[in-house]
Amino acid sequence: MPFEMRKILLCVLLGACAVFADSWSEKPDIDFYAHPFVEDADDLHEYRTGRVTSENEEFVFSSRGKKYPMDSYNFRVQLFAGERVLCVIEDGRAGVLDYDRTRPLALLIFLFALGVIALKAVSGARALAALFFALLAVFAVYVTAVLKGAPPAASALLLCFIISLVTLYAVCGKGRKAPSALAGAVFGIFSAALTAYIFLAALKTRGFSDENIQLLNYLSRTLQIAPRDAGSVFLAGIIIAATGVIMDVAITISSSLSSIQSANPAISRAKLFRRGMNIGGDVIASMSGSLLFAYAGGALFLILSRSFFTYSASFLLNAEWFAALIAGIFAGTCGMILTVPATAAASAFLLTRKRGRP
């Protein structure tokens, strides 16, 4: 079975990579390890979510009014009557794969939308629409383009410009906030991308300590599918991750400045710029620390697990995973810092220029 062989080979390769991502001190033992996607990834079967019921001491899977006898073994799922699970339907039997997690997820998304709209009715709804657009742009349009051969990092830069254009206009409306925020955000995104590129090149880091990058590298080479360069996908991920923070800083400053200017229309251009830098300084001060937390929280398991193999400070500073983790934080923070003067200058210029006209 060639497909099975491929899976086994992949498991062996990933086992090796998962233990030592940099180099090997000796040939690694075969360490059985499988990424979850390898185990039952397949679009030939029908997948269904439904409820497990118990009939005559046998589990039965009921989905959309139909009932199927079940193959109840799966190491991921502990079956109980009443549990909602995901099954694959084959020859009239249901093989259980995993828990059904769509309902709590959908409920939480609903609560989230409710909370945002309750806090800020009109612009909250607009922001949610912009977010929906952005996620669609990343995971449908951009991913498809990359699979068709678009260069990952360069098109991520273009994608982020478009997303910030749409998001900032959706959130700020037609006023004078949007163009100044956009100018700041575009400058910030570009400098974050440049910083990340220089950092990764100088530190010879291509993200191969990340197990998904390893799998991507393996899959794209084996199946002859784009993207061929997994390292540039890693760079694209850093650019996309930084975009949100940069848009956030840009909008905070331009929104605060326009609010201050409308409260005191006589304020001078220099004073407005200084107020912008002042607010920006506060934002940077707390945000640079909080970005650290956000990345540390996202990578807590990774940091913990790697800490067992970190023998000294010199090992930490030279490790690829550490450089990869720092790359994201460094690019995001630098992009954010450079967004502040750009947005403050653009806001001060645009707000005072228009005021003189009527």
Binding site: D22, S23, P36, L108, A127, T243, M277, G289, L292, F308
Partner: protein
Amino acid sequence: MTGRLIKSSPSSANHQIEETEFLVLSGRSGGAVVHARNYLWDDPAYNTVLRPGDKATLKIDYGISGEIERVAIKGYSRGRRLIFFLAAFILLLFAVIGRRAASVLAAMTFNIFIFISAFVPVLKSGFNPVAAVFLFSVISAGVTLILITGLSKKSAAAAAGTAGSIILASLLAFVFLKAAHISGFYSEGARRITAMTRAGGIAEMDFFLLTSAAIMLAALGMAVDVSVGVASFVQELHDERSDMSAIQLCRRGISVGGDMLATMINSLIFVFAGASLPLVLNARISRVPFLRFINYEVVSGIALHSLLASFILIFTIPSTAAAAAYLFAGREKRRRP
């Protein structure tokens, strides 16, 4: 330890192993010339490509009597360049925000220091992760607020706004993680921790609680940040127009906070979207159908993580705006009539 490559020669017929000699530059064996094998793999992405004169990180194992037993190449040497980038970052910070950069750097250094030297060892010792992250956040948020905004009304408002929202959102997190059967076992790195636990030497860890702790940790900084942003705006507005009432200030604060939130959602979800880009590409390449994809623990775990962290921000804004407005204008307002 860092070593400089002196010479390398392929030793096996298919050029899969390089026999190399290094001059050790630092550490206990500084000055010694050691021999190491550089294993090369079919996939060049995993190889450490070295030419004579290049530096590499070496791991030297010593025998009982102190002799060098084995030398392994652990990859490129990155430390010095990392420090160079750190210096560049400090310069940039000083250039943009001036003298305040000193306190920001002090806060960051403090946070990193207690993260590495206290938080991680405490987690490794098997202490309850949620309790550990709570202690860690109290200490670090307190020190950060005092160092950056000073002991002022602004930091008091920010602290009040943050504390309530963290508690509310962690209750929410507990309920939803249980409902979605998130065990934490499929997070990157969890299997390696399990392997270490089985090999012995470290305490058993509760991955579910560790996941909750990771959510709190990710959101903590953002929550402090949002609340400082809102409190800072209310103060600036109060300085500009001191005749505004507390209710007006609060309303303006929520309005600006709402604008911040509107992009903050993007900000948070983009951090997670960027991190999960390779995951989604893998799913598309492997042709995983959507219904299967969304029900993987990794995938729904990431989605829940970003949403639950966002809830902390949602709760933070009104509470901070109200606290700041009350502190800046509330008492004066009461005295005036």
